[in-house]
Symmetry: C2
Subunit: 222 residues, 2 copies
């Protein structure tokens, strides 16, 4: 009986990878840079998206797929600034999968998009096991969560291309050791690109915008 | 095929509830007050446990079951102050279940325990679906996560007996509206007991200690 459960799980993951590859092919054909954003609840996924929209939406066409267990609070924020957005409510599910993202893509004007953010469900454990069709896997870790998070949730840090360390403005009020944090992240993932930022004050954000613009241009010229 | 998956899931949840009832019976027989602590990663589960041990371990015998995806960082902290602790590594699983807790109980000196903390895996989505055998379900929400968390993760707030609002010391540096937070929590769960605290400065902690001591005494006199 146990073995049966595991087989079903593998089948689901396998089917998910096939669908993710299909989504990626579709996004590549349109030269859309797609970023899967993962983090704990409240680390700043929507804040990063909103700040990036503010900075880059005059130069590039941006769209968003919002994943949440419940509510459409975040999608409403994105929609209010005139950006195409699709809300996916997982109804208790703790991660997005490639089939949900396919539904999202079917409801977006793909030929008119340069950059697609997929905001995953707030969870440091399961989302990284499910490919969605993205080109970049980005996770946000925020200083109030503590510098021990890479020890305790290693898979998410190991699987990400980019780590954004958000809420650096709170560091003077916290016992957060950035050097210790970096050391463990580098150990888990030597190729990772790390941006310490404050979405609130804007500190460090220019480096993120510059990197992202480089990636959008790279994608267009492929 | 889909229906099969759902059946397996229901069977697992049903079996879990049976095992949780068995664990509860065992804990009740020993008059152990058992608290299941749930939260996002880094909200302060271990900090709450450590501060409570410091305050109450001279009067009451405390033990801890530590649930983590990986590592034994938290168990080492608890063990260092001489408290019996069992580490459960879920190996990728995003919540504890009653079978894991049974393993934990088998490795603790039950006749010598007044208060048992079960520190769940850091996750706001799945842990509340799995009863463990606890008497009190407690969740921690921390101010840097934002006042919109009850909207976005309603089931966890609705299912908890106690909500600890931690990191109130950071409130002057955040846009956290405590009144708005309370209003949504009360709406989801009118019977909830809410303690705003700072595990770091100790603010508000006396109210939590007093309430907890009352519950331990109540359990002993049952």
């Amino acid at each position: 009986m146990n073995i049966k459960v595991i087989q079903v799980g593998e089948k689901i993951l396998g089917k998910n990878e096939d669908k993710a590859a299909e989504n990626k092919k579709r996004l590549d054909a349109q030269k859309i840079l797609t970023i899967n954003i993962m983090s704990s609840p409240g680390a700043g996924k929507t804040s990063l998206i909103m700040a990036t929209i503010k900075q880059l939406s005059k130069k590039y066409k941006i769209a968003v797929i919002e994943g949440d267990v419940a509510s459409s609070v975040d999608a409403e924020k994105v929609s209010a600034v005139g950006i195409p957005v699709v809300q996916i409510n997982t109804g208790g599910g703790c991660h997005l999968d490639a089939f949900m993202v396919e539904d999202g893509l079917n409801n977006l004007p793909l030929p008119n998009i340069d950059l697609l953010f997929i905001e995953n469900v707030g969870n440091l454990i399961c989302p990284n096991a499910y490919l969605l069709g993205e080109e970049v896997r980005l996770m946000i870790s925020s200083t109030p969560e503590g510098d021990d998070k890479p020890y305790k949730y290693p898979a998410m840090f190991a699987d990400s291309d980019v780590v954004i360390l958000n809420k650096t403005d709170l560091q003077p009020h916290l016992d957060f050791n950035e050097k210790a944090f970096r050391k463990v992240v580098d150990g888990l993932n030597p190729d990772v690109i790390l941006f310490p930022v404050s979405c609130k004050t804007g500190a460090g954000m220019q480096e993120w915008f510059d990197w992202l613009e480089g990636k959008i241009k790279e994608k267009k010229n492929k």
